[in-house]
Amino acid sequence: MNDIISEISLLYELSLSIGSSLEFKKAAEGFVKILLSRKNYQHAAIYTSNGSVDPYASDHYSIQYEYPIKIKTHVEQLKSNYTLIHHLQKERFINVDLKENQYPEVCKETKGDYAIFKLSDIGFMVIYSQKESRFSSIELNKLSSVIEKFGVSLKACLLYELSKKQIERIDSVSKFPKQNPNPVFRISKQGNILFFNDASKPLLDELAINEKNLFDTPLKEIVDRVLQEQKVLDLEVNAKGTDYALSFTPIKEYGYVNIYGKDITSIKQATATIDKQKVFYENILNSLPTDVVAFDHQHRYTFINPVAVKNQEIRQWLIGKTDFDYVKEKNKPIKIAEQRREKFNNAKNTQKQYEWEEKVINQKGEIEYHIRRLSPVFDLKGHLQMVIGYGIDVTKLKATELELLKAKNIAEESMHSKEIFLANMSHEIRTPMNAILGMSKLLEDDPLSEKQKKYLNTIQQSGENLLVIINDILDFSKIESGKMTFESASFNINTLANTLIDSLQYKVSEKDVALYAQIDASLKDFNIIGDPTRLNQILINLLSNAIKFTKKGNIILSIVPLRETHNNVTLQFKVSDSGIGIEKEKLDHIFKSFSQAEDGTTRKYGGTGLGLTITKQLTTLQGGKIWVESTLNKGSDFYVELEFQKEEIPLSLDLKSPQKNKTQEALLINKRILLVEDNKINQFYASSILEKYKLKIDIADNGQIALEMAQKNTYDLILMDMQMPVMDGLTASKKIRQDLKLDWPILALTANAIRGDDQKCLDAGMSDYLSKPFEEKDLINKIITLLNL
């Protein structure tokens, strides 16, 4: 009796452990652990069909719970056609005979005993006992009755969990419209609000207060219409300063309308801003005085401003069309469209701005010129976005340009005339001067009376003064016309200065004036690179002035290096005199053109008044500076600062004396010279010099005669005048070189001191040149050099 009570109470305990939880795992755990503990079984596993856990799953069976998990006596998944499933349809439980194990997939152990119980219609439970004795049928029956209930409770758990999941899913789905940041609400056929989310509140509040303010027609009518037409209706409304786009969507089967809204305030604001900007830019484009158009990639107009096409209708019509449509419509030549297309393709293909001038005939039949420009615009990927076209009417500009061109030509012509005039002047003046000075020089060698010598001296002085004036005027005009150039030659400043001082000594020989140079000793050690002629000119001008204005005392040329680097040296030249000096007030003016300290100076001391102006120009054009410090009646100090490149003097350099020696002169004897010169006085002057050195001379009166003579005779050298009748010196020289193929040295005797003549001579094949009027020694030296003596 007590045993039965014990049995029952044990079953009671097991039964009460059923349904301890609605959670499957807890419910299973509560029962299985008690079962294993009280019955001393080793393992239990609960299989359920997947379909009972998830209605969308396969119909396989898998383990939902087992204890202890360590004992893996099963396979994870069993197919629904597994024999065991089939057997359990008929039996409440199966005691597995391990000797003929039909279910090795779930009963892996070889010792002990297995019992498999059906769990309602959700699956089955496998129990394993390690005991050697098998389950008794009484035990299995007792367990079966309890496990049957357990199965039902587990089914309830599964259903509960399933429904919980479903509820969660529905709940989460239902949160979508609730959480939607946009208004969502639902209105019944009767016009009642059935659902609304938080975002709808401002709209619905407005609806409650003032429906008219929100919709033009009553909401009820809108709902009716939407339901009747079964079509989505889109409306835009404003509630409390917010703009909404509302979509009334009919839900036919339930007879209500869902309204999906969207806050479009920012979009509207953005659109308004864009519109405003559009107007702003269009205003700018439209008010531009140029044609502005835009094309798509197929050369179709996408924008045209009113300057490009005045007529608004045509403008609108042209959008989306091409120039071919335009010329067809306007009966204009198709060539215009073809040309424009060609330019468009050019800009598009080269990806570069393209500009050209288009000549068109306007409605009045007048010719107009337009500058057109096409600018292709590409996106970040390099695809053509559009081409912007600009056009500007340049007809008037074109006319002005033509006028200007004409004026320029005239000006150039006049300039050219001036140059020719200057050249001619130079030639015309120098030629007689050459004769005057040359002849008077030759006359010196003849026996003259004291009176004659005095006359001759006056002639020579006046001639030299006149030559200085002429040279000043020519230099000045050269500077004025910007044609002054400077050469770069290497020279020694020490030598230059000393030679200069020596050459001027004669001018002070009759005065009580000492002229000398003070040169910094370091300057002997290197040459400088610059224009020695122009430097000489600067210093002569200053020294000549000093000599001119100093009656007694000293005139000193001092040269010191002010700044010196490895490559460059800045020299300061100072010409000090103890002459009449300059008044303070006049100091500012003395470097100006045609200015001397006193108006009467020119008359008293001579000169053009251009000397200092030229000196200043020559200094500043070489990057230097010039100034004067002076005290009236005490004297003046003229300063010049110039920078030069330095050049070391090569030790082996053979410094040739500018003076040719007697041996060289002796070699001149019997050399045959052809003198080409039209001017009889000059013929006489030149031949007088040449004869003095026992040279043989033939004279040709012009280039033509010279050519003939050159063909007949052989000469060692030709002296060639430039300006001659019949054939000038340049032409004759060219022909001697090119036609006669003669390589005799040709020395040009040029009166043209205008820049460019030197180069012209060399270009014509001449060997060297000598400006007229020339001095005897210069001519002889040139000849010696050219004959390589």
Partner: protein, 366 residues
Amino acid sequence: MNIHTRSIPEVLAQIEKLSPSKDDVLQFFIGEKNTIDIPKLIDELNKKNLRFYGGVYPSVIYKGEHSDKGLTIEKITSPNNPIVVQMKEGSIKLPTLNFKDKNSTLLCLLDGLSAHIAHFLDELYNTYSDSCTYIGGGAGYLDFVQKPCVFTPQGLVQDAAILFVIPTKSSSGVKHGWEELKGPFVATETEKNTIHGLNWVSAFDVYKEVVEEDSGKTFTQNNFFDLAKAYPFGIKKDYEEFVVRDPLLRENQSLICIGAVPKNSVLTILKGNKKTLVDAARQAAIQGLSKRNKNVNHCLIFDCISRVLFLGDDFKDELGVVLEELKEKNLDHIIPNGVLTLGEISSFGDGGKLEFFNKTIVVGIL
């Protein structure tokens, strides 16, 4: 080796004598009245690079004696290191252990006063199930105040269990000798180890009625355990001995036991006497030795402290019968070593679900 000392140098000297090899792990059982400085001992052992574990128990057993001041050291050969696991509610992550072909024993020394023992043992069995046999016992102090009581080289801890795999399969005998007095009673209201209700009325009322009637004594304010130690509860199991639950304290109308009492479990009030208990000890020894009497190295005894409290001086007979049975099997060279515990751990026989027992003797033969 049993030594009555609390001197660390002396302990270390004794260890020298044992001359443990690298393959040996030292097992320390320390009686609760032995006041050795355990953290310091751990430090010293660590300095010597020794592998060890141990527990503080109400008393230690060595040969036929037990002592609450004693300290026993036993050398157990195993390649495995003892592992400490924290006992707690919820999921407990247990390590993968090195069990060889199910021929291993998992020794488990745990804090006998932890509230998480039942759950921990459930998890233990769930994880290792039949890969090994289990033996062990609850450590702690008889004043029932929870204190750190188990240790490894990592330190002395509480609310923890030490797991140590011995590469030998053990054979255990589990018996208690308590017999049915009255039942069944359904534990209608319980909470872990507290029984609030029996048969839908307050637990103490039911218990009191049965115990007072049988003993002829009356429960007073202060004598609960004196009377209750002779009347434990048994949880009914099919085909096996009751799992005994020792009512330790009374709290109002509720009874607090060592070990969990599941709700709706069927309980019986048990009663024992010297003979049945000592017989049970013999049966346990016989059961343990029945499957294993060759290549025996150790005889480990986990015996409930409350059996000592019940048997008093006669407890020496309980240990005596174990010695007799060892001698019977010609294993008298094997010196039983063990502890008096706060709860015993074993699986019934060679397998089956792991249980936490009270008032039971577990004799493990290794």
